[in-house]
Subunit: 125 residues, 2 copies
DNA sequence: TAATTATTTAAGCAAATGCTTAAATATGCC
DNA sequence: GGCATATTTAAGCATTTGCTTAAATAATTA
């Protein structure tokens, strides 16, 4: 691996140095941030997050109904969201209520706005 | 598929109806938004986007150097970003310069801020 | 204690992802 | 035209993803 010619004679060494430095400083952030984005980057999970942004809490069974999917499929998505600290749970007898971990999801807030704005645009268009 | 008992006797029918309606209105947004998030949800691509946010333009070869990856690997990531309208290209003789499509990336701007803020926190901690 | 309900977990599988290596394009230079 | 450089494309392959079905937990009710 690694050697594909292209040792760019005219490489912008200054820029390369700069970029490497920037990555090094922000290093820690990329892993955690990209995994949050990857979680939100699935349409089903994005919908779940979006709904929980409004609804306070929903159980897996109702989510399956809402999204027209099987319960195990939903449950597996919820597990990922929980492992990523995006949602948390409250148990009430048999039912488990899922809600957003609002602390860890501040990052995603702009998206809700984006969805709503875009929806509005489409409606008025 | 589909029948996993759990036709929740105590299902919150009001909430279910609400949620279905909300999804229906915002329907169009979820597909496009989740695919942008999925693109940004890869650590390598997130770094590329982040760097392009500062650097105006970078060529594949320099990116490979900066990220310590092979050129084809980088090229394939860039292709995805271009297909997703996140980056655009400018050709100058042999070199192809990649830059952000600032119009289509407004959504991701909050993340750059997030990375920078978090980095600052880690530095001063 | 047995049957029902809500949820999770496990196993299996098709499709997608992200790399590798090698070959194909395309431009610049001698 | 022939060779070097910059990039893309293609083929191959291991890993991950996201579903399905079936089985395992856990709490509720009869």
């Amino acid at each position: 691996m690694e050697n594909n010619t292209c040792i760019r004679q005219f490489a912008d060494h200054e820029q390369i140095k700069n970029c490497k430095a920037k990555l090094k400083t922000a290093q820690k952030s990329f892993g955690s941030l990209s995994s949050v984005l990857a979680l939100a980057g699935n349409e089903v999970r994005l919908k779940i997050i979006y709904l929980l942004g409004d609804e306070k809490e929903i159980c897996p069974c109702d989510l399956a109904d809402i999204l027209g999917m099987s319960i195990p499929a939903i449950s597996q998505h919820l597990k990922k969201l929980k492992d990523g600290n995006i949602v948390e749970t409250r148990k009430e007898s048999q039912t488990i209520y899922y809600s957003l971990n609002h602390e860890n999801i501040k990052i995603l807030k702009p998206f809700f706005k984006h969805i709503n704005v875009q929806t509005l645009k489409l409606e008025t268009a």
